[in-house]
């Protein structure tokens, strides 16, 4: 195996894993504050289509990125309003957001599907994704605001009685997660596979969700996990192309299988479970308790 081949493989792994890192790191922060957002797939698709449409209409990558992020802010803002102010069920609302996002993106993109565009170099975003993981890790473990986010996620009642604004903190983390998902979508439709086609994220939102659990809510583990999933997917393609016989279906289900194994592992021990998952995850916060 020569060095060019290895560099080539690494290159493909980097390009294909980056959207998982973006969406995953955003969701990690959201979940750290105690909110489960299952709407990643929808957010990614809307981010992808808004970025694509803006690029077709203006030809400007900056506007395209900007509007893609705005779409994430708006959609996740709506999600935040529903689950925080109206206290709807997080799982149902997140699923609704995904279904809504799939439909909305398909509707918006109908006229633009099949318009050829010039793709953007993915390498800037690969670098940004690594920086983001570093920043999120630093933020959560070393800054006061990060500690507040974690406090809110661990026990929102205690955090509230200490005078922290639970709702505001969660608005911030949800919107951060939304922006990261739309960035992942933008990356997919502008850098990774420069095109718009309905449902083109093909389940990557769900893999990102699984990754957060796989990483037991730790940023660096998320990065490692994402590269394990991405790396295995690309390695099996390489092995296939060399002529090694592999059960491809098995590799398709691997991210989910690995997540279940991690879940079984961390929930086998009460203490380990406590140390890993934010204790208030998916619990609705009511101010007047």
């Amino acid at each position: 195996m020569n060095i060019d081949l290895l560099v080539g493989i690494l290159n493909i792994v980097l390009i294909s894993t980056t959207p998982l890192v973006f969406a995953g790191i955003g969701e990690l922060v959201t979940e750290k504050s105690g909110v489960l957002n299952l709407g990643l797939e929808g957010l990614m698709l809307v981010g992808a289509v808004t970025g694509f449409i803006t690029l077709v209409l203006t030809g400007n990558y900056f506007y395209s990125l900007f509007f893609s992020i705005i779409s994430g802010v708006i959609l996740s803002g709506i999600f935040a309003f529903l689950v925080l102010n109206l206290m709807t069920n997080q799982i149902a609302t997140g699923l609704a957001l995904t279904i809504f996002g799939i439909g909305l993106s398909a509707m918006l993109g109908k006229k633009f599907s099949g318009t050829p565009i010039e793709g953007l170099n993915p390498y800037y975003f690969i670098v940004i994704s690594f920086l983001l993981v570093f920043m999120v890790s630093y933020f959560l473990s070393k800054t006061k605001s990060g500690l507040i986010v974690r406090a809110v996620g661990e026990n929102h009642n205690s955090a509230y009685s200490l005078g922290y604004n639970v709702i505001k903190t969660r608005y911030m983390t949800i919107i951060f997660g939304g922006v990261m998902s739309s960035l992942a979508g933008f990356y997919i439709s502008i850098c990774y596979a420069p095109m718009w086609q309905e449902g083109m994220t093909a389940g990557r939102g769900w893999i990102a969700l699984a990754l957060v659990v796989f990483a037991t809510w730790k940023p660096w583990r998320l990065l490692v996990g994402a590269y394990i999933f991405g790396g295995v997917a690309i390695m099996q393609m390489n092995l296939q192309a060399i002529g090694v016989k592999l059960p491809g279906q098995f590799f398709n289900m691997m991210p989910y299988l690995a997540t279940i194994i991690v879940l079984v592992f961390i929930s086998s021990n009460k203490l380990r479970l406590k140390l890993s998952a934010p204790a208030s995850l998916n619990i609705t916060f009511e101010k007047n308790q």
Partner: protein, 356 residues
């Protein structure tokens, strides 16, 4: 989870395309992907539109998109059958048993299942001889490759796909015995990101021509970016990769759909098996790219098209051996339709095994 959501979604996206009149025949379509894929489903939708234009007010059409190939398909097909549709086209191979299941419940509704081989009194099957197109692109690839390595991205190990690989390889190896094909199975028809990854992986391993049997134009785009050549799939994809795209194999469903709809309107519809290729216009080649291909090669390709049309050339001419070295088609004979329909083996010369 994603499957469930897609299914829920698919019931939201039933789209009735034209207003209904009392004596109109209702014709339904089940699509595996979105009509905007610019590949497989797009061409079926073009066929539907052709049919509408040809038959005008005597029919109205409905389609359900993104229907997964599992038990959910039964619900989608049943929904169309129960809502008064007279003729239902199910446009993917793995809707086969689901189509039969619903057809048995609704004996008065007519069904047309694409690329399958199981029929009932009210279920016809139809398919295009895509492999004839694969013979043409195999010939071109054999002559155009410089690295003698061709990357081939495929979806699922079903006869239609394996037949395509074999037809492609036989034609390529005939003009270039040193040619090797590297095959990647994606286990999905449609995932632009994964298709791009597969194309890049193959290019990285030395392929200078990318062939696909998946539904998005991502592989062709990846080839364009890497500066290698590619063939498109199902529809003309030249717009997306003008400097890589040599030609595409196009599926032309319109005339067949119009004929079958007319038969339902006239009351003459009967269950049958249709398998047409270049001769009947169900398969066509997109315009050959004159910037990339030498003129004499384009002429050769066109002559091959004509030869296949009048039967002087066949994609599977003996002697053909399987990988174990057994003679499967004798010299002077061609593979019969039965063998082609159930083809689940690679011919000699292809590396690797057919996945189970």
């Amino acid at each position: 989870m994603i499957r469930k959501i897609l299914t829920i979604l698919s019931f939201f996206t039933i789209i009735s395309v034209s207003a209904l009149h009392a004596d109109q025949k209702k014709i339904g379509f089940i699509y595996i992907g979105p009509p905007g894929d610019h590949g497989w489903t797009y061409m079926h939708d073009q066929g539907r539109i052709y049919m509408e234009n040809a038959l005008g007010d005597s029919i109205s059409t409905t389609y359900i998109e993104n229907v997964p190939e599992n038990a959910d398909a039964v619900r989608a097909i049943r929904k169309l059958a129960a809502s008064g549709h007279d003729l239902i086209f199910t446009t993917s191979f793995n809707y086969m048993d689901q189509t039969l299941e619903v057809a048995e419940e609704f004996p008065d509704v007519k069904f047309e299942h694409a690329t399958g081989f199981k029929r009932l009194d009210n279920v016809s099957t139809y398919s295009a001889r895509f492999y004839e197109g694969r013979t043409i692109i195999g010939h071109i690839a054999g002559k155009m490759t410089k690295t003698n390595t061709i990357g081939y991205i495929v979806s699922f190990p079903i006869p239609e796909v394996i037949r395509g690989i074999n037809a492609f390889y036989l034609a390529a190896a005939k003009v270039n015995p040193d040619v090797k094909i590297k095959i990647i199975w994606n286990y999905s028809w449609y995932d632009p990101g994964k298709e791009a990854d597969a194309a890049n992986t193959l290019i990285n391993q030395g392929a200078d021509i990318i062939v696909q049997h998946t539904d998005s134009y991502a592989p062709c785009q990846a080839a364009e970016k890497a500066g290698v050549l590619a063939f498109g799939q199902a529809s003309n994809q030249e717009a997306f990769c003008p400097n890589a795209h040599m030609t595409s194999i196009e599926d032309i469903w319109g005339p067949y759909y119009a004929a079958k709809a007319q038969a339902v309107v006239d009351g003459t519809w009967g269950s049958e098996d249709t398998w047409q290729g270049f001769k009947d216009g169900m398969v066509e080649m997109s315009p050959y790219n004159t910037k990339l291909l030498p003129l004499d090669l384009i002429l050769e390709a066109k002559n091959m098209e004509t030869a296949i049309e009048n039967g002087t050339l066949h994609s599977f001419e003996g002697p053909i051996y399987n990988q174990a070295g057994e003679l499967v088609v004798k010299e002077g004979e061609v593979a019969d339709d039965g063998m082609l329909a159930g083809m689940m083996f690679y011919v000699q010369g292809i590396d690797g095994e057919v996945p189970q």
